[in-house]
């Protein structure tokens, strides 16, 4: 990467309020909602250099930079987004948005339902990836963006990028689908359900209406996150990092933290349960499970992609077993059959599913080269 790369610096979140009702796949109509978002870089005069970053399960709109007075508030994809970085903010106008149902400022289960004056909680509707994409499209309208130079996402974010290219073919020039899948496997849904059961069975969940009780289903969220975290790492990666290391160097013959991996997972679980909403976690995992763009097209992914006008970059990581390279290949195969241009990289990495957030050099080179062509195309 270039030596001049740096941070986008201090950023501020913005909010867009929408009063046009949004009809959701589940049948519920959201009468009004807000989306929290951030932007980096400048939209050019032709408005051709806009890039949308879609977030994954636990992500949000704060993609890059940090907030004033808080140096530790670095965005979740700061290593990929910034001046001189692969998603180069000197060339692109980058938009990050917190999805509907999220817990970082956009309307979600913890928001107050104007009809009742109380948090939505258990009554907040379930979301699907196409719902999110339609909400994001309204934000694009608001920002004056007719067509994205690229829609980019990893994991659940990649699903949104893919959905964008299918639902709004004329509005997406490039879709970058990273460590993702055209639909979840049974095993993947199974992991999601164990995570959900951890939350649903926490006595402090109160059927989703824990806000009124002044409690948080911390134990459930913590377990869900611990389980998730295991599946985001690879066996090798975990072995390299933690092995069988003991905190105190010897067995204690008890159930407190002994192995470093236990300590790490508990820490991750605790950190997550302090800041993440349980209902959001539930609905995000359901959105993952429901995602299947082939389904409305007679279970034919090629037919679904037939509408797309986008070009694609698909990338997977060898040690990712939660969204394995096989799932990405499935998508690539369908894209080729649908006659869509696609580049596919299968990156050797020990980082497991988390690799899409890391900087394995071939991955960075692939992103850099692809996006620099995109930038040339839109004369950014």
């Amino acid at each position: 990467m270039s030596n001049t790369e740096q941070s986008v610096g201090t950023v501020t979140a913005q909010q867009a309020d929408f009063s046009t009702p949004l009809e959701l796949a589940c049948g519920v109509v959201l009468p009004a909602y807000s989306l929290r978002y951030e932007t980096y870089g400048e939209l050019n005069a032709a408005k051709s250099n806009a890039v949308l970053i879609c977030h994954a399960l636990s992500g949000h709109h704060h993609v890059a930079g940090h907030y004033a007075g808080d140096d530790k508030s670095t965005g979740w994809w700061d290593n990929m987004v910034g001046p001189g970085k692969p998603i180069d903010t000197r060339r692109f106008f980058v938009v990050g948005v917190n999805n509907l149902g999220g817990c970082h400022g956009s309307t979600g289960p913890a928001s107050v339902n104007p009809d009742t004056g109380r948090p939505w909680g258990s009554t907040f509707p379930l979301m699907t990836v196409p719902d999110w994409v339609r909400a994001q499209a309204r934000l694009a309208d608001r920002l004056g963006i007719d067509r994205w130079a690229a829609v980019i996402g990893g994991s659940l974010g990649g699903m949104q990028a893919l959905q964008w290219s299918i639902d709004f073919p004329e509005r997406v020039a490039h879709a970058l689908v990273i460590a993702s899948a055209p639909k979840l496997s049974a095993q993947n849904i199974a992991f999601n359900d164990v995570a959900r059961q951890a939350i649903l069975s926490d006595p402090e969940f109160h059927g989703g209406d824990f806000y009124a009780h002044g409690v948080v289903p911390r134990r459930g969220l913590r377990l869900a996150r611990m389980l998730g975290h295991i599946t985001y790492l690879s066996d090798d990666g975990m072995g390299e990092k933690f092995g069988r290391m003991l905190r105190s160097g010897e067995f204690k013959f008890g159930y407190d933290v002994e192995f470093e991996i236990e300590s790490y997972l508990r820490y991750q679980g605790d950190k997550f349960s302090d800041r993440f909403d349980a209902n959001t976690y539930l609905l995000m995992t359901k959105a993952l499970d429901y995602f299947d763009p082939a389904k409305p097209n007679g279970d034919n992914l090629v037919a679904a992609l037939g509408r797309s006008q986008a070009r694609y970059l698909v990338a997977s990581f060898t040690s990712d077993w939660r969204f394995s390279p096989l799932r990405s290949r499935e998508l690539v195969r369908a894209l080729v059959a649908a006659d869509r241009p696609v580049a596919y990289g299968e990156i050797v990495s020990t980082h497991g599913h988390d690799a899409f957030l890391m900087l394995d050099p071939p991955y960075v080179r692939l992103m850099q080269r692809y996006l620099s062509r995109v930038a040339e195309e839109v004369q950014a």
Partner: protein, 195 residues
């Protein structure tokens, strides 16, 4: 991207019909596909094992799919390409016969090129007691990726065995076409084949 093509790729490019749907196996840095896209309006895909080459292809605007040809062409459906190209790679493959059949499963026609082991300079080096090393075979015996050597007749026999028709054959020695005694005087063989 340069518009100049290596001699051997130029010859292959001459066999490609404008607007064809082309699959280039072992597409390297994408030079051939990039040229074909620009000059013959082909819709092309490449398959490439090396991620650095995939990155180069991306830079050249070529649709490169990272993958291993030895595992077959299961990413591609039957008859989905007008032409499948395998350029100077077949001699380095374990599953030689399988890739040939796979090429003609996914493509209507195939172009296969390979260094001719029967080239007189190779024979001469063998006669002098050493394995051949030359411009078209630039490896020592102990580090060569080339494991399945053949001469013109061998390749043609393999095609015959599988009912594959020879549609066109050109044999080159450097940049010169060889008509006389091709199996002796040609260093590179080019075949266009079909079922």
């Amino acid at each position: 991207m340069t518009t100049l093509l290596r001699n051997d790729l130029q010859l292959i490019a001459g066999w490609v019909r404008p607007g064809a749907r082309v699959l280039d196996l072992g597409c390297g840095d994408g030079a051939l596909l990039s040229w074909l896209q620009q000059h013959k309006q082909v819709r092309g895909y490449g398959v490439e094992l090396d991620v650095d080459n995939v990155v180069r292809c991306v830079g050249a605007g070529v649709s490169a799919i990272q993958g291993d040809l030895e595992t077959g062409l299961s990413d591609f459906t039957d008859g989905s390409f007008d032409l499948v190209i395998l350029s100077q790679t077949i001699q380095a493959m374990h599953h030689t016969e399988q890739i040939l059949l796979e090429m003609l499963r996914v493509g209507r026609e195939a172009i296969v090129t390979f260094p001719n082991f029967g080239y007189w300079q190779n024979r001469w080096q063998i006669f002098r007691g050493r394995m051949p090393v030359s411009e078209t075979i630039p490896y020592q015996w102990y580090d060569t990726p080339n494991i399945h050597w053949c001469m013109l007749g061998d390749f043609e026999a393999l095609c015959a065995k599988n009912g594959i028709r020879l549609l066109e054959r050109v044999v080159m020695d450097g940049s010169r076409r060889v008509g006389f005694l091709p199996n002796l005087l040609g260093s590179l063989a080019f075949y266009r084949v079909g079922l």
